[in-house]
Symmetry: C2
Subunit: 295 residues, 2 copies
């Protein structure tokens, strides 16, 4: 295993441990929503967004303990978004991370509540006293997370994704959709390190450019995986985009065109980190990983 993959796995294990600790099981009828939140949050996944938080913070020399709350919070938001997106009224998916989706494993009401619970808990984690010793940073993290996750970000993107207009989007339209639906949270993940470090304007700009490039590359890679993988490889249904006649980067650019665009974005992402020099090695590897991953 490369040192990059070892690092990804180590950070992932730390995040999983923290989620386990922050969502302790409870007795009684209320226990079911906690159990459902745990089912989702402890179900594996690449933990890519928390990895970005931890790595951008490490870029400024911050220890893992300091950036862990923001990392955990962004993963909670990600998990909630998967739960709600999978619901019958939304994408109606049965399989996620190789297991039944939450509303299949429990029921629809519990899935809605577990999503609500994880979304809410994310703010408790960053804004609470354990979030950071400096209240200004706690407040800034909470505000940035809300902006990324809300109707001007991820929720707005999901609205577009399920709208009647979705099928006929052109390249500009699906790029805008990606910016909101998946890009906003990836942006936050990279911005969090800068917030925690009280980074200057140039460094924030560099991380923003990096986040935009890898966010777009991530979506193109997702479209390629959906078009070319089996459900067994991916742990979720595939071929969905074609079946639902959704406009995708693969549809717009072709397989080879999409691959070339993703590769160009990896180069762009790496270049945007020039001001950090060698310290950004792991983030450059992340960009490469994002387009080369198999699930």
């Amino acid at each position: 295993m490369s040192s990059f993959l070892a690092r990804l796995e180590a950070h992932g294990a730390t995040v999983t441990e923290a989620l386990d600790r922050l969502l302790p099981p409870v007795e009684g009828p209320r226990g079911q929503v906690i159990e459902a939140m745990r089912y989702s949050a402890l179900s594996g996944g690449k933990r890519l967004r928390p990895f970005l938080v931890l790595e951008t913070a490490a870029l400024f020399g911050l220890p893992e303990a300091e950036s862990l709350p923001a990392a955990v919070a962004v993963e909670m938001i990600h998990c909630y978004s998967l739960i709600h997106d999978d619901l019958p009224a939304m994408d109606d998916s049965d399989l996620r991370r190789g297991r039944p989706t939450l509303h299949q494993a429990f029921d629809e009401a519990t899935a809605i509540l577990a999503g609500d619970g994880l979304l809410t808990e994310a703010f408790a984690v960053v804004a609470g006293l354990e979030g950071h010793r400096d209240p200004a940073i706690r407040a800034e993290l909470a505000a940035a997370l809300a902006a990324a996750a809300g109707a001007a970000g991820m929720v707005g993107g999901q609205m577009i994704d399920i709208s009647p207009a979705r099928g006929g989007l052109d390249l500009e339209g699906i790029t805008q959709l990606q910016r909101l639906k998946t890009g906003a949270l990836i942006n936050f993940s990279c911005e969090a390190g800068a917030i925690l470090a009280r980074a200057g304007v140039a460094e924030r700009e560099a991380l923003r450019a990096y986040a935009q490039a890898i966010g777009l590359a991530f979506q193109i890679a997702d479209d390629l995986l959906d078009a070319l993988s089996s459900p067994e490889e991916l742990g979720k249904p595939t071929g969905q985009d074609a079946a639902m006649e959704k406009a995708t980067f693969v549809g717009q650019l072709g397989i080879e065109g999409a691959r070339a665009r993703a590769d160009a974005l990896v180069v762009e992402a790496a270049a945007s980190l020039d001001i950090f020099g060698k310290k950004a090695k792991s983030l450059r590897e992340t960009a490469r990983f994002i387009v080369e991953r198999r699930s």
Copy 2:
């Protein structure tokens, strides 16, 4: 109209204006989720929770402008909870505030997203720069709101409310359910004024006792209204508790017993504000209003 009702109406209008300003309509396919959030947030209602925020803040001499963000945030959370509670997978309600529920007026997916959007936006409002000039207060408001709304509060209460155990709860069980499902957010509404004012321990304790008494009184009054009102009077379905064989305060205490308990709680609530003297007149009137309201 009494001066209390005039005050309730004036604060309500201020909150509605602020919600209107904070949720501006947008063009394009993303616009639908904003439209749905507005449908819910601008649909009237008593605005009781924001009123409590504004009045507890006023107790410490704080101007309305300073407590308005927390007031708006708690109303956003309340609106989101109504949207999600009304969903087909939850209470499956068609009528709310005298109008079709959100999933009836739009569709289920949009209703889920609009709830998610309002929940998220509440944190943007309190944690953002407009929330308060002091970042420590912004962070504390966000953390307290998350604690009240999450799985240890409102979400946990809703989980109990839809659980198989719900039907057979005894008086202690339905009191615990009420503390979480409706009490936690009412507690936050009264705590917010204390947070904003950096109130001392004795004042916080007094407000906590007040909040617990009116929260319980509110639920008993709700059970009485559900048992005794028509849907036309209430703007939502009635007789639901009996139809669903839910244990209620009316079922446990009888009509007269429930009325007597609610009245005793109004006296208790008023007494808990003794340390504030005459300044707490409006909050004492609020307790009375809560049990005497007709909807």
